[in-house]
């Protein structure tokens, strides 16, 4: 057959029709998320050989091409994970930041009111009203600790339920991806690329990347395999694995992430990166846990130090001060796989509050030795043996006698602080505002000797309430107490008897007399309350560098700094994602002006092709008339 103008015109008409419908498809999908614009590619049809040369035979659409860049799409997916991680973290840390900024959840206000009330008792120790105020402020303080703890619990529960929801989303998306893979494998079998399905799959991958960071590997059959964490398969060909959110560790309140394998769940909590899920895990296990521990340490430091000082005083009934606050206990979580689970455990007590950290620990037994690892820093902590126990970071740890190799225990030394601190005294008379003994250098003394306050070492000593008169001998290198045999004088040395301790310092003269008098009925003595109030200024925490106030201020500053840093990261990550999206949109996005121009172009081409057919028709008629003429 020769060259057929009709044929050429027809091929062009059909080709441009297809191009026009593709333009229409592009316009129709201008608002479809993840859609990549399509273009009809044209090629010439096979030319016709003549001895004078090859004659063209028309046009044919070779393919409907999806305009996209695999590299740029991967950039978008990657940045989506990073960005969603930062945005979620920003939201979550923002809730702590907000809490820290509110007067209603501030610890500073009730702490200050509490210490001011103690000062009032020091100034008016016999005033029952002042004592009632102190108890009231103590209750408010304890309640504020509880409120903070409740907030931490609420945020933790919220994080846990978000984790569950995220895992459910991931499972749903994995199912959809597996089904899409199935369709794509089938459609590719037909020899043509299913552009729209590929767009859908890319879009779904992006949505999955919002939940968690994924790696993808495209298979020869067209399937896309999806991995999370450090290479755990989520989707392989047409099969999706399920993720689980369940407590697998020692803490029943801490959901782990696991792959639901036939052999049992495989824990991958620590391997999760990127996306909402990693942000939720990081917030829960790092920010929230640390915040709880920091507030807990303030509660524990205050309770222990206050009780210690309270036991140095006398209450209005003339008794030694009893425990003022209930001291919280360290939280020990036994691994459910321990041989002694539910039977015995390690014992943890506070040894030195100034050495307590706000970190969590893991204590493990290898059959011979015990080891302690700081879970926050990952560093191993040296254990100092002490009478069968171990001392480490302000804790006294008693090993589990029944432990076998492989047993481990998680220790959260200060996690219970805000939860367990409580007020043990409800009778204002029981506040030990008075010191047990009054010490005095007689006015008639001529030397420079001075006597310290008394420290109680054993209030049960039978001679505890005995008054002491200490007279310096001539020469004043020795002294006698209550007429007993003289003992040598060492300035500044601790003098210990009758369950009390005190110090005489300086250079007393011969005959100088000091008295230590038991404060019976001394309802107007507020010395111990004054010392209790002085705890406000004592640097009892963080290696002796922080007061309870400055520890809380540090907490605020740290939350603020962390939130600010997360916000900054979120902003820069958003910029990176925006850039990647702009790049992808630049390549794959539909531009209506461009489509309008294409519409015009293909319409004109179509009209021209129609003209070709019309010309062929005219030619044919001319021939008919000439022949038929």
């Amino acid at each position: 057959m020769g060259v057929d103008l009709f044929g050429i015109g027809k091929s062009a008409l059909l080709g441009f029709q297809q191009a026009l419908s593709t333009v229409g498809h592009n316009i129709a999908n201008v608002n479809t998320e993840g859609y990549s614009r399509q273009q009809v590619m044209f090629g010439t049809t096979r030319p016709f050989y003549t001895t004078r040369g090859w004659l063209g035979t028309g046009v044919q659409p070779t393919e409907v091409r999806r305009i996209y860049s695999a590299f740029v799409n991967a950039q978008v997916t990657h940045n989506t994970s990073l960005n969603e991680f930062q945005q979620s973290l920003k939201q979550l840390t923002g809730s702590l930041d907000y809490m820290a900024g509110q007067e209603a959840t501030s610890l500073n206000t009730p702490l200050q009111a509490f210490f001011n009330a103690v000062q009032e008792v020091a100034t008016s120790p016999a005033d029952i009203a002042a004592r009632e105020v102190m108890l009231g402020e103590s209750r408010s303080l304890v309640q504020r600790f509880r409120l903070l703890n409740d907030e931490f619990d609420r945020l933790q529960n919220q994080a846990n339920s978000q984790i569950q929801a995220t895992v459910a989303d991931i499972n749903g998306m994995a199912e959809n991806l597996a089904r899409l893979n199935e369709q794509i494998i089938r459609d590719i079998g037909t020899g043509q690329i299913p552009n729209d399905l590929l767009d859908q799959r890319d879009y779904l991958i992006n949505q999955l990347a919002e939940q968690v960071a994924v790696q993808t590997v495209e298979q020869d059959n067209g399937a896309l395999n999806v991995f999370i964490g450090s290479g755990q398969a989520l989707v392989v060909d047409t099969r999706a694995n399920r993720l689980l959110a369940a407590p697998l560790g020692a803490d029943p309140n801490r959901l782990d992430i696991a792959i639901d394998a036939p052999s049992g769940p495989i824990r991958i909590t620590e391997q999760i990166t990127g996306g909402r899920l990693a942000a939720q895990l990081e917030f829960r296990d790092r920010d929230l846990s640390r915040a709880r521990n920091e507030i807990g340490r303030v509660a524990i430091g205050l309770a222990i130090r206050f009780n210690e000082q309270h036991a140095q005083g006398l209450d209005l009934n003339g008794n030694i001060g009893s425990d003022y606050f209930a001291v919280p206990q360290p939280l020990v979580l036994d691994d459910p796989n321990n041989s002694t689970y539910g039977i015995s455990s390690i014992g943890v007590q506070y040894e030195d509050i100034s050495q307590l950290t706000t970190d969590n620990y893991r204590m493990s037994f290898d059959g011979v030795n015990w080891t302690l690892v700081n879970l926050t820093t990952g560093q191993s902590v040296p254990l100092t043996p002490s009478g069968g126990d171990f001392l480490a970071d302000g804790m006294r740890i008693t090993p589990d006698p029944g432990a076998v190799a492989g047993d481990s225990y998680e220790i959260r030394p200060t996690a219970n602080g805000a939860l367990q601190i409580d007020l043990l005294i409800d009778n204002p008379r029981l506040i030990a505002a008075a010191s047990t003994h009054a010490t005095r250098a007689l006015d008639t003394n001529t030397g420079t000797g001075g006597i310290s306050d008394v420290t109680v070492t054993n209030a049960a000593d039978p001679a505890f309430t005995t008054d002491l008169t200490i007279v310096f001998d001539n020469p004043p290198t020795s002294f006698s107490i209550n007429g007993n045999p003289s003992q040598p004088y060492t300035p500044g040395a601790v003098i210990s008897l009758n369950g009390i301790e005190f110090v005489i310092d300086g250079t007393p003269a011969a005959g100088d007399t000091f008295t230590v008098t038991y404060n019976s009925d001394a309802v107007g003595n507020g010395d111990n309350a004054l010392r209790l109030a002085g705890i406000q200024q004592e640097q009892i925490l963080a290696g002796g560098n922080e007061t309870v106030f400055s520890a809380y201020d540090e907490y605020l500053a740290r939350i603020g700094t962390r939130t600010r840093q997360v916000n900054t990261n979120a902003e820069s990550q958003q910029v990176l994602l925006d850039q990647a999206i702009a790049q992808r949109e630049g390549i794959s996005g539909v531009n209506l002006d461009e489509e309008a121009a294409n519409l015009q172009r293909y319409q004109q081409s179509y009209q021209a092709a129609a003209q070709v057919i019309s010309t062929a028709d005219t030619l044919f008629n001319t021939l008919l008339q000439a022949v038929g003429g």
Partner: protein, 397 residues
């Protein structure tokens, strides 16, 4: 660069959202008047504000403490003033009663008024403050400190002083233990006290005496004995002879750095005591006068004993007056110190409030102009969005 239609749209929307969130932040600052609304707004500043507020609250507490302390010291001061007034009145009456022209009936009448003054003084010493606490009981403020007991007066308080915190580094004593104010007062002239023997037959009277050289004084109880109406000797408590001499009425008898005089006509064997001072309560001194003025004076010997005792008691009374005025001066000094601390804490409060305001308070001028700028930026974003959305090739086809 190629831009998709969706990109144009979302860019425009994002621009407006960004401007809106900036505007909302400024609006929050304007509404609260605070520059820092959450720690993350300025972590270092937020921490500094907390520290300053802590300092402010503490300063306010110290201020309250100082005010309370000053009011308590003022109460103590006014009680002490009354006590001094009481003592001065007592002294006037005693001097009146010591006049040679007074007869027994006159002294009896005076002794009744003296007894009244003693009761008044006891009531003053047992003063309670507005909270019902005894102000002169040391820290045993729930126990009435002074009570009559057989043979004298007892102090049931303690020697403790309550310290009140008036600044981070300073405490000031709240009151004075009654023992130091009313009880532990050296009798006589403060170094020694003289007295006449109860069995003295002569009319000799001993004066309170004076100290000429304290360093030569050896504290002991000495006895001055008239070995004849014209000779005397002084022996210490171990009966060792210290000194002896010939008696001339009114002439100095000096030994161990002290000087006493005897007047009148002592009889042989009459003794006078020169004892090292011991503590004697103001009430015992008062009671001593009451008892003395009720003792009948008939013979010359009675007269001699009366005036010896009178002299010793009067010097004890002066010691008590001295002690009261010194205590009053100390209370005044402490009140002044507390007032000074009050001013310091007030200054500190003002300073801290200013410092907090600097960190925390919003600069309204800056924030308002920022707000206006942001409003304009938002309007610009909205207008450009509307304009760009109107541009489409389809409009021209």
């Amino acid at each position: 660069m190629r831009i998709s239609t969706q990109q144009i749209f979302s860019q425009g929307v994002q621009g407006m959202l960004n401007q809106q969130s900036k505007l909302a932040f400024t609006q929050l600052q304007l509404a609260t008047g605070k520059r820092i609304n959450q720690p993350s707004d300025d972590p270092a500043g937020a921490m500094r504000i907390q520290e300053l507020k802590e300092g402010l609250e503490t300063a306010r507490q110290y201020l309250d403490n100082s005010k309370l302390l000053v009011s308590r010291l003022q109460l103590e001061d006014s009680v002490l003033q009354n006590a001094v007034g009481n003592l001065q009145r007592f002294r006037e009456l005693v001097v009146q009663g010591g006049n040679d022209t007074q007869d027994g009936i006159g002294r009896l009448a005076i002794s009744d008024e003296l007894a009244e003054l003693l009761d008044d003084m006891l009531a003053l010493a047992n003063t309670r403050d507005a909270d019902g606490e005894y102000i002169f009981a040391g820290t045993r403020t729930g126990t009435e400190p002074f009570a009559r007991v057989p043979g004298g007066f007892a102090y049931n308080g303690n020697t403790d002083q309550r310290e009140v915190q008036v600044s981070a580094s300073r405490t000031i004593a709240n009151g004075d233990p009654g023992s130091a104010v009313f009880m532990d007062i050296p009798n006589g002239n403060g170094v020694f006290v003289t007295g006449a023997g109860a069995a003295n037959a002569g009319s000799g009277v001993i004066v309170p005496g004076t100290v000429t050289d304290l360093s030569a004084w050896v504290p002991d109880n000495y006895t001055l004995t008239f070995t004849s109406p014209t000779t005397w000797e002084v022996r210490d408590s171990a009966a060792n002879l210290v000194t002896a001499g010939t008696y001339v009425p009114g002439q100095d008898i000096a030994f161990n750095g002290i000087t006493v005089q005897v007047t009148g006509n002592p009889a042989t064997g009459d003794v006078f005591s020169i004892d090292a001072s011991t503590s004697q309560s103001l009430f015992d001194t008062y009671q001593g006068f009451v008892d003395l003025f009720r003792t009948p004076v008939v013979t010359a010997a009675d007269q001699g004993r009366f005036f010896s005792r009178y002299n010793a008691l009067l010097s004890s009374l002066d010691q008590a007056l001295d002690n009261l005025t010194r205590t009053e001066a100390r209370v005044g000094g402490r009140a002044n110190a507390a007032e000074v601390e009050q001013f310091v804490q007030e200054d500190l409060t003002v300073y801290l409030q200013t410092a907090i305001a600097q960190f925390e308070d919003l600069d309204y001028a800056e924030a308002t102009s920022r707000f206006q700028l942001q409003t304009i930026a938002l309007q610009a974003a909205q207008q450009s969005f509307a304009r760009i959305q109107n541009l489409s090739l389809f409009n021209y086809l």
